[in-house]
Amino acid sequence: MEKAFLILAVLTGVGLIFGFILAYANKKFALEVNPLIHIVEDALPKGQCGACGYAGCMAYAEAVVLNADVPPTLCIPGKEPVAKAVAELTGKAAAAMDPRIAQVKCAGSNEKALGAYSYNGIEDCVAANLLFGGPKACKHGCLGLGTCVKSCPFGALSMSEAGLPTVDPEKCTGCGVCAGACPKQVIAMSPLDAHVQVNCNSKDKGPVARKACSVACIACTLCMKECPHGAIKMENNLATVDAKVCVEKCSEAKCLAKCPTKAIRSALNGISGNENQTTAAAACASCAQ
């Protein structure tokens, strides 16, 4: 009988001691969490894409509330409404955002781009890239194995039948995760209102690029000469368009018609549209201005 009481005493004693220690510790070491952090987190899209540079939406909410130097405009998927909401909640001034969209800088579909060898390995661009830079003759183009599609936190990318990723402009938030996932840096984040884009990433010289792919930019400089505003430049055998100059000054996009390989296209037409539509779409774009 005595033993039974002893057992009871020891077990309840241990339980009570730990209960009190925990209760005391909970009170004494309680962490004061700013309730605003949760309110701000609720205002964020919760895609956990990391485009803001923080580990997730919670981490960004914490930083933007506690640190006065963190601007409220870092959430790229949220665009302006979220930036405004966050700015209002934290009492910071919201600067204007420029919305961006993923642009696939390659039109070298399976028919148009030449293959170098037949690849039967892991269905992943990073893996394929390790093997002599991938199975395409062009060493700068899209490998078409869909690493970007898998990486997109918003499901905005899909693989077309031609073997190129297509961006759903409705779903793309411009977070840039896909641009980081692509081993070839084929995806660029371009301004949402860009008129024209160069759908090629090849830094090879003209003849080499042309041999590997029928829609490559061969750096012929025709578009550069055609542009009256100097928005197009040649860098590393590739035409680059300064979207800002383009949007502000240009109203007719003459550059599109001159391109012999149709590597430069209207951005409003999407990347996989057919060539015949490009000029029409460009004209359309100009009248919308």
């Binding site: 020891v10 077990l11 241990v14 925990l22 909970n26 070491f29 892991i122 893996a127």
Partner: protein, 192 residues
């Protein structure tokens, strides 16, 4: 030398996961990525060492004098669970960086069989205080070794062409079996 043998024995020869099959739940649950497994391994090793010391004291200063050895199991359960909870609160308050790193694993450990098993084996073997701590540290390091090995293998496996019926946990069990087989080669080198 005696402690070194004990330590190495606990790490490799008598590895808790791969030769005694304790702690398999977290071994499979948290071995999907290397980062998580390192955090988990570190958390288990430190909790194991600390709770073994605590359990040794409770056993030798409370349970033995009161002749209540048969209460070892429930007392240890309360002791370890309470201690882990306490540690979680303290770490959260004083070392937020550490808490962010492996705080989430602490709760998983609270009622894990490795963490309970090692102190139980320590008191059953009549180890001294230092021996219990060394044995617990060795077991923790052994657990970390096993889970990190497993996570490295599983990370590589993501790019392997696994038959559909074996994908996921199935192939993980097969690999764990092979790992255990290879650790069987150490058996008997250092007797427990």
């Amino acid at each position: 030398m005696e402690y070194f043998t004990l330590f190495m024995g606990a790490v490799i020869v008598n590895n808790f996961v791969l030769t005694r099959f304790l702690g398999l739940c977290i071994f499979f649950g948290v071995s999907k990525s290397l980062d998580a497994s390192i955090g988990m391994g570190m958390a288990v090793a430190s909790i194991l060492t600390a709770s073994s010391a605590l359990a040794w004291a409770a056993y030798n200063f409370v349970l033995v004098p009161l002749e209540l050895k048969f209460l070892t199991l429930p007392v240890f359960v309360i002791l370890i669970a309470g201690f882990v909870q306490f540690l979680e609160i303290v770490i959260k308050r004083f070392a937020p960086a550490l808490y962010n790193m492996w705080g989430i694993y602490l709760v998983l450990i609270a009622t894990n069989c490795v963490v309970l098993g090692v102190p139980l084996i320590n008191v059953e073997s009549n180890f001294t205080f230092i021996k219990s701590v060394v044995n617990a540290l060795g077991s923790g390091v052994g657990f970390a070794l096993a889970i990190i090995l497993m996570a490295s293998l599983r990370e590589k496996l993501q790019y392997a062409d696994v038959p559909k019926s074996l994908q996921g946990l199935g192939i993980a069990f097969v690999i764990a079996g092979m790992l255990a087989l290879s650790f069987l080669g150490f058996s008997g080198m250092i007797p427990m």
